[in-house]
Symmetry: C5
Subunit: 293 residues, 5 copies
Amino acid sequence: MITYNPKDWFTFIFRFHKADTLRKLAPLIFGISVYCWVIAFLELHVLKIPDNSHIKQITVMHTLLSFVISMLLVFRTNTAYDRWWEGRKQWGSLVNNSRNLAIKLHSMLGYEDAAHRSFFKKIIPMYASVLAHHLHAESTRLALDEQEHPELRELNTSQHLPNQVAKLIIQRVNKLYTEGKIKGDQLIILNNELQSFTDICGACERIKNTPIPYSYSVFLKKFIFFYVMTLPFSFALSLGYLAVPVVAFIFYVLASLEEIAEEIEDPFGGDENDLPMNKMAQNIKKHVVEILS
Amino acid sequence: MITYNPKDWFTFIFRFHKADTLRKLAPLIFGISVYCWVIAFLELHVLKIPDNSHIKQITVMHTLLSFVISMLLVFRTNTAYDRWWEGRKQWGSLVNNSRNLAIKLHSMLGYEDAAHRSFFKKIIPMYASVLAHHLHAESTRLALDEQEHPELRELNTSQHLPNQVAKLIIQRVNKLYTEGKIKGDQLIILNNELQSFTDICGACERIKNTPIPYSYSVFLKKFIFFYVMTLPFSFALSLGYLAVPVVAFIFYVLASLEEIAEEIEDPFGGDENDLPMNKMAQNIKKHVVEILS
Amino acid sequence: MITYNPKDWFTFIFRFHKADTLRKLAPLIFGISVYCWVIAFLELHVLKIPDNSHIKQITVMHTLLSFVISMLLVFRTNTAYDRWWEGRKQWGSLVNNSRNLAIKLHSMLGYEDAAHRSFFKKIIPMYASVLAHHLHAESTRLALDEQEHPELRELNTSQHLPNQVAKLIIQRVNKLYTEGKIKGDQLIILNNELQSFTDICGACERIKNTPIPYSYSVFLKKFIFFYVMTLPFSFALSLGYLAVPVVAFIFYVLASLEEIAEEIEDPFGGDENDLPMNKMAQNIKKHVVEILS
Amino acid sequence: MITYNPKDWFTFIFRFHKADTLRKLAPLIFGISVYCWVIAFLELHVLKIPDNSHIKQITVMHTLLSFVISMLLVFRTNTAYDRWWEGRKQWGSLVNNSRNLAIKLHSMLGYEDAAHRSFFKKIIPMYASVLAHHLHAESTRLALDEQEHPELRELNTSQHLPNQVAKLIIQRVNKLYTEGKIKGDQLIILNNELQSFTDICGACERIKNTPIPYSYSVFLKKFIFFYVMTLPFSFALSLGYLAVPVVAFIFYVLASLEEIAEEIEDPFGGDENDLPMNKMAQNIKKHVVEILS
Amino acid sequence: MITYNPKDWFTFIFRFHKADTLRKLAPLIFGISVYCWVIAFLELHVLKIPDNSHIKQITVMHTLLSFVISMLLVFRTNTAYDRWWEGRKQWGSLVNNSRNLAIKLHSMLGYEDAAHRSFFKKIIPMYASVLAHHLHAESTRLALDEQEHPELRELNTSQHLPNQVAKLIIQRVNKLYTEGKIKGDQLIILNNELQSFTDICGACERIKNTPIPYSYSVFLKKFIFFYVMTLPFSFALSLGYLAVPVVAFIFYVLASLEEIAEEIEDPFGGDENDLPMNKMAQNIKKHVVEILS
């Protein structure tokens, strides 16, 4: 994730950061420009299509559909953003629950109980780092795929690590209870935090392994493609060679929206915009150790 | 469900997957094209309607209504997507609760208690597979239909299987409690997971047996039909035979949105985009067995 | 509620179901058509307004406002749909809680305890049917009206039946507790389901007795009315008698949206699209009896 | 609040209720009409601006901005409606919790315990009426204002009444517990309802004392003002004196949306559309007394 | 935060408050006006571009993209508003939990227990003021930044103060429990409030340290910049020097939306529109002291 100052317009407009869609789309924008120039050249100098040709009227289609394509793309970006934000919320929740669990255990365990303290100092932050690793794995992304993946051997053989860590935490707390170190009322109080770990893991897995429906995604891409590919036909007649930058700019806007949506809909990848899970796991470690000391 | 790489534009644009709306709508798009060609032929060569005819102005209606139809369809798709995503969330919740219940029971039951362990190893994943089966059934879809369905005999006679499984789980846990194998505080801690099964089942049934209101659905279809059917009248005059691909493309866009919405609003069917419930039930089985071993 | 197959386009487009807005609005659409024909006749044949008249330019107003009216109506329908869906969710929640309560009581009560079993077999489904009846009553709709309603005598005198049933359930469970038939931990576990009945009833009452704000509703109707009434003035000049079907179709679209919103915003009435509360109460009865047997 | 029949179009369109925005905006609409007439008179008869003047092209600005202004206003209304509906939900929640608390206490307290019964019969509904009074007070609206308000003396000196009532309820329940009249499990069961009072009060205070951000509000008003004020310049040239009703109608639509938003964003005032808090407090009183008798 | 009367239009339109975007953007608007005048001068008097030039047709691009830019900006503002409102809700929740905790402790602690009372009188409001301070700190904003910040020394060394306060509260309550001053049932009842502090802190930190994705932000700024910069080319031909105020107004509207979004998306800064955290902390102090006395 990139932390930035949203009020610094100058940098935004004139620098080309690695995560800037303009930089990523540059080759495509160039390609579209050439395509558009070719169309314009053919229409204006080879075919010499007259100004009152029906072709010029194709604009009416683009106007009628401009609303659908705009809304679809804006909704697409917002749905992707919702997923990204939900992922961030789940990790925020992991932070909160790690802290709360540490604070509660700190007040329940005696100061002299070094063994349990050091166990929890290690195991609570371990959940976050194990989860970060789990979510980066390709096997997690493909967990719901019905096809076979012989190339990913660990998909079927390896254990589910976050579950194992959660098991260790809950087992230990239950042991504290059966040994009488914490009472039943205290066990009840710890329950929220204990079960939250697995809930958070499941929610992150859901975001990771369930992209938006295939039909939706494929339709959107076909729509953008045909929409932009047909723009030069009429624009070359009404705008001449000015159609080249105009079509390029329209393509930049539409493709950027789809590009941004693709990047942020899976907040657990390695993209520039993805959540800094390792940093968050470090912060959890720092705070849990601080609390339990 | 189809797992895919959202960044692979080339495949999206040039392949025609089974779940692609372009493939599904192909016959209809062809039909509309023929219809449009016939209208154009009649207007241009048979009736020879002059260019300044009032008919050409019908476009104004399509422009005025283009907002409504676009917004309606985009909202329709998004409402359908919300249902699909809610269904996915419910199943995610089932995954979480199955795992958490297994982890908790694992820590409460002694290692030697093989009988109970093997009972829960079987019954927890069974809920998921029974629910998957239940949601595929036609009788579930028609549960709220006020008409008689003599053709579906089991609608009124058969038992509600998920309820039976939930009953077995809760009964067994309660027995553990009355026999003193788990204490009251532990029973309270298990409660969330225990009651979640029936809540999840009910939520999935709700999505399954309650489509969007009939009036809304019928209005939308009539609207799309009339909108597209009247397009060629004015377009044939302003675009000539170019009206054929233009109208076909507009129809493709509008109908795709409705088509996608229809497919994903019931995430528990057998469509390509529907949730992989069997795969998820398998995963639950794998994890629960792993935890309770 | 009408259960239907959303993929059967043919039926949707060519049949005129009782709940179809086209059928309901037919007289109004006819009226608007006549009005529009009269305006067109006056402008074209009586006043003989020239083609370059300022009147033709009124279209600019309709274009500028087409976006507001579209968005307002689409949002209106979606807000109404949210209320309808919330009502459905509340009833889904009632189903879940009835089932869960029955399952839990089943596991807590001894098999031989026929008296309590038969009590709960009757009283749990009774809540649903009493609530259905309560929500159909005119007195519930007017519960927040500050005016006097002498014509509705029971408004002030009658008891609140759902409260009475909830009281009976909670009282009986509490008695089980004080008599030692269920323990404190079990009482705590039953609490969620016990208090949900009244929460659900309150939420349904809220939807029933609080329509969208009066000013909003009145503004929307005035806006549609003026918008459609002024359409023929300019359309008659640009479209001639074609203005009649065009205005009729625009009116059909706008009025349908408002009509649908009106129908579904109160999901507890007797409209075709309203929730099948009696059917749901029957289902609850069936399942609760099945569970407690 | 006004309870009405949403299907009675005739009344809506032809009557001018006190809460109708058309009535409230009438003087302003008249003012705008005069302004527009003056502009038209100047342009057409004094300055005699030719038809091909650049001024006529200003329309392009209004068209480009018509989307933004429409979306902003529709979103504004919907945000305001969300606040209104959230306020309603909080009061619905107060109704539910008052009922549930009464039902639970009824089942826990002995029939002969007249003292406690009559205490709760009074104090539970008292919360609702004290809250209604609290939310009407100007001091509640200004609770977060950082400026001094010497004219509102009670702002800093008076006690927070709802807190005092909540304190009395919780204190009494706690006393019942310490005296052994209710057991620990029953105390736990009552907790949800007990803490909900203060949560509801806080949520209502939040809606009351936090309007939408100042910058947003001021921008919207400046935008509407400039947008409408510049409309007549181009419209007078294309529409002649017809610009007067056209501009007036556009103003009516835009200003109505802002007007409605202003009214409903604070649901706890004394406007026609505001929540009938006193009626609701009465209903709570009626039901609580009915339950506890 | 500025508390204002939303119905006072006159003040809104004619005063220029410090938080008014018109005042903030004034220099930029002036700059754009000069730029636009220069373009107009060049096109009209230096290059003498003819009226039928292709340049005039660039407007078609602005029209096609006007939907996207409008929707993007309105959604942007609404997303920012959601963050602002969520921040407000979290602080409202802090108010509620502080009050509820104080009320509960008041009823559980004896009147004579001055020591504990005075401890909680100090420590509960202290959480709010420590949190306010924590959220103002630059180190909180950069907590997730993966870059090194040597200039912010306390980023890595200082303790997390809100955690320390939460620790003190929970520790003390736990001590009351182990000393038998409050019973287990009462401990369970206090749990919600106790764990809410850390949850609220985490949620506020999330809003503070996670701006909307960088790519989204940078794209939006580039888009607005290019959109406005290309407007004068075609407008100068169709509007002459009138293009200057028209472009300036369009820029004012678009930039205001982005400006407002930037301001309110971080509700915990020192901007005019930000939440009055210190005032809220004061109010919490006042009420907690009032309750516990």
